[in-house]
């Protein structure tokens, strides 16, 4: 159960997974979430958005949170209804300040090869919030925002 999360919300039970810190584990979890959304009738635009944000969140957790330490895990929880999908991703790192990430669209950062993940998550999801420790992100996407 994610921290501070109710057990269920209108019958939406959280589905939890613990992923080892290995990038190749992402796709299976990602497709599970996308398949769930497709079964609920979410359109292609929403599935694309959630898939992209999901992958960015997990990659950030593994690379920047867990620093690719194979002894650490990423805790994933998601729940979906016909109205919305919520995704929580927690790493076992030291946390970070999301406000401290430079704007990747600024001219001086445009040629930098990294730093766009959080921006994409915020662009494609309707709500993105971080725990005070900076080790957990909650993302929400509504069918009809």
């Amino acid at each position: 159960m994610p921290a501070n999360a109710p057990e269920s919300d209108n019958g939406m039970a959280w589905i939890e997974k613990q992923l080892p810190t290995r990038l190749e584990t992402i796709r299976e979890a990602e497709m599970e979430v996308v398949n769930r959304l497709e079964s609920l009738g979410y359109n292609e635009d929403i599935c694309f958005a959630v898939r992209l944000a999901f992958e960015e969140a997990i990659v950030n957790a593994m690379k920047h949170g867990n620093r690719m330490d194979p002894d650490r895990h990423v805790l994933l929880a998601y729940r979906a209804s016909p109205e919305r999908v919520e995704i929580r991703v927690r790493d076992e790192g030291d946390g970070f300040d999301p406000c401290g990430i430079p704007d990747p669209t600024a001219d001086e950062n445009l040629r930098k090869p990294c730093g766009r993940g959080i921006m994409l998550m915020r662009s494609y999801m309707d709500e993105v919030s971080y725990s005070s420790s900076g080790t957990e992100v909650l993302m929400v996407k509504y069918r009809h925002p």
Binding site: F48, V59, L110, R111, P113, R116, M119
Partner: protein, 123 residues
């Protein structure tokens, strides 16, 4: 040693390297690394003009964007240039959100991108 699966296919057309990405090749993170290595290998020769076609690619992440930026920089340093083509509307939106549509020259079709190098039809 196991042979790496082909991530990109490279052909020459009118002096331009035309690179096509295997449709599902950049879906796994391990493949993204191979994708990046393949692109950088192309940039080893100076002055390379490269068109990268994303035909059939419907998903990418910021890791792939990072590889493209690295390739773009490496080619520019060696007097070459990278141009992109056949980008799915969803993926184009990613370029637009990140403002990378300002960094890369993007063409609707690979023929237009090749022609832009060779002085043929313009995009």
């Amino acid at each position: 040693m196991a042979q790496e699966p082909e991530i990109i296919h490279v052909a020459a057309r009118n002096g331009v390297k035309l690179v096509r990405v295997r449709a599902d090749a950049i879906l796994s993170e391990a493949d993204v690394e191979a994708f990046g290595r393949g692109l950088l290998a192309l940039a080893e020769m100076p002055g390379q003009r490269v068109v990268l076609s994303f035909l059939g690619v419907h998903h990418l992440t910021s890791l792939v964007l990072g590889k493209l930026i690295h390739m773009h920089k490496r080619l520019a340093e060696s007097g070459g240039e990278l141009r992109l083509a056949d980008i799915d509307p969803h993926i184009y939106e990613v370029f637009a959100i990140t403002h990378l549509d300002r960094l890369f020259q993007i063409y609707e079709r690979e023929e237009e991108a090749v022609a832009s190098f060779t002085g043929g039809a313009e995009a």
